[in-house]
Structure formats: C-alpha cells, structure tokens
C-alpha cells in the first residue's frame, strides 16, 4: 500500500519536472529540473528494489545518482564558462 502510493507520487512529480524541463524559460530552469529528474530516477530505482526485493538494483541507483551529480556539475560549468575543464 505504502509502496504503491510512493510509486504514484514519484511518477506525478516526474511528470511535473518534465514539464519544467520542456517549458523552462531559461536554461537554469532546465538544468534544475534535469537535476531533480535524475534524483527522482534514483529514488524510483530504490523504490523498485523495495517493491521487488532485488537488492542488485541498489547498485544501479548508486550509479544513477553519481552520474546525475556529475552531469549537473558538468552542465553548470559548461554553461558558465563555455568549457567543462581547463
């Protein structure tokens, strides 16, 4: 019951963040909503691991979390300077 409520609310929040990614007036809104979407995806994978009992999915959640953080930092640095690293 709790896990179903969690899945539905995470899906609704993903749809709302996708609206902000598509609509966002500036690139800052898009990057913010993209960061939120990666976090939402990692949380959804953890909830799927809870639902099915496959603890191997937690590795996928770890990788998704790290990749989301690194891509957000790379996007922010690129949009600030025009390059990612010196």
């Amino acid at each position: 019951m709790v896990i179903d409520i969690a899945i539905v609310s995470l899906a609704i929040s993903g749809v709302l963040a996708t609206y902000r990614v598509l609509r966002g007036p500036t690139w800052g809104d898009r990057v913010t909503a993209f960061d939120y979407l990666t976090v939402n995806l990692a949380v959804m994978v953890v909830v799927a691991a809870l639902r099915t009992g496959f603890t191997s999915l937690l590795d996928a959640a770890l990788i998704i979390s790290i990749l989301g953080f690194m891509s957000t930092v790379a996007l922010a640095r690129y949009l600030l300077r025009g390059r990612v690293m010196r």
Binding site: A17, T32, D35, V47, A76
Partner: protein
C-alpha cells in the same frame, strides 16, 4: 438504436473492461514487499514522497530560477534522505543496508553541491530574478559582477 445510446453502451463496456483489468492488475500488488512489517520505514518513505512531490510542485509553480532551485535543492535533499533511510531500515535483515547508506551519504553530500553550482553559474551568467516583492542581492553588494547580463535576458 441511436448513435448516442450506442456510444453510451460502448463507453460503459469499455469502462467495465478497464476496471476489471485494473482490479486484476491490482490483485497481485498485495504480494509481500520488503516494506511489510517496518512501520518506521513506511513513515519515512511516505514523508520522503511528500517532500519530493512538494519539490516538484514548487518546481512548476515558483517564478524564477533561484526560487525553483530553493525548492529543488532543499526539499529534494530531505526527501531523498527520507526515502533512502526508509529503504535502509526496510532492507536491514538482508544485505541491502550498507549500499543504501552509501547512496544516502553520497546523496547528502552531492545534492546541495549541484544546487550551488547551478545557482552560481546562473547568477554569474546574469539570469534575471523575480523582483516584484523585493529581493536581496548579496553577491552584488560584495561587488561580484554578473557577466553577459544584456544578451542573456
């Protein structure tokens, strides 16, 4: 039989079929998940989902980049920590707990940092902010100039 009556019968049959499919799909959802018998984990996961949903609503409703960052950084940190903590409690007898705690620690370190990076580059590139109810520009008071404000607006 008129067209309206036929459409009404078709709609009622489709509705009955859809609800029957939904009921049959929801029937195996009562299977045991890892969350049964952990009320603390259930409460934590519900709180985390409420915070994530509030963050998404704030992401849609707030007026500019910085307020949306406020919603998407603080609420997401707290909500993700709640969900990961609940999962760590729920996985406790099995071998999932150290990995979930690793994800939670990493997430608690990186989520505010990515929000800070986005806010810094947005300010330094001169994205406009919402000024109807007054605003405080601390970095401008420190003398840090934003670049390229003319062409970005």
């Amino acid at each position: 039989m008129t067209r309206g009556v036929r459409w009404a019968r078709f709609a009622s049959c489709a509705l009955a079929a859809a609800t029957g499919t939904l009921a049959r799909a929801a029937a195996p959802a009562r299977a045991a998940s890892a969350l049964d018998g952990h009320p603390v984990a259930q409460v934590l996961i519900l709180l985390g989902c409420v915070f994530l949903l509030a963050a998404a609503v704030g992401l849609v409703r707030f007026p500019d980049v910085y307020t949306r960052l406020h919603a998407a950084t603080k609420l997401v940190t707290l909500g993700g920590l709640g969900i990961f903590g609940g999962a760590g409690i729920a996985f406790y007898p099995v071998d999932g707990t150290p990995r979930v705690l690793l994800i939670a620690g990493l997430f608690f370190l990186t989520a505010p940092l990515s929000g800070y990076m986005i806010a810094r580059s947005a300010y330094l590139r001169g994205l406009p902010w919402y000024q109807e109810h007054g605003s405080v520009d601390d970095w401008g008071a420190l003398g840090i100039e934003s670049q390229g404000s003319a062409e970005e607006r």
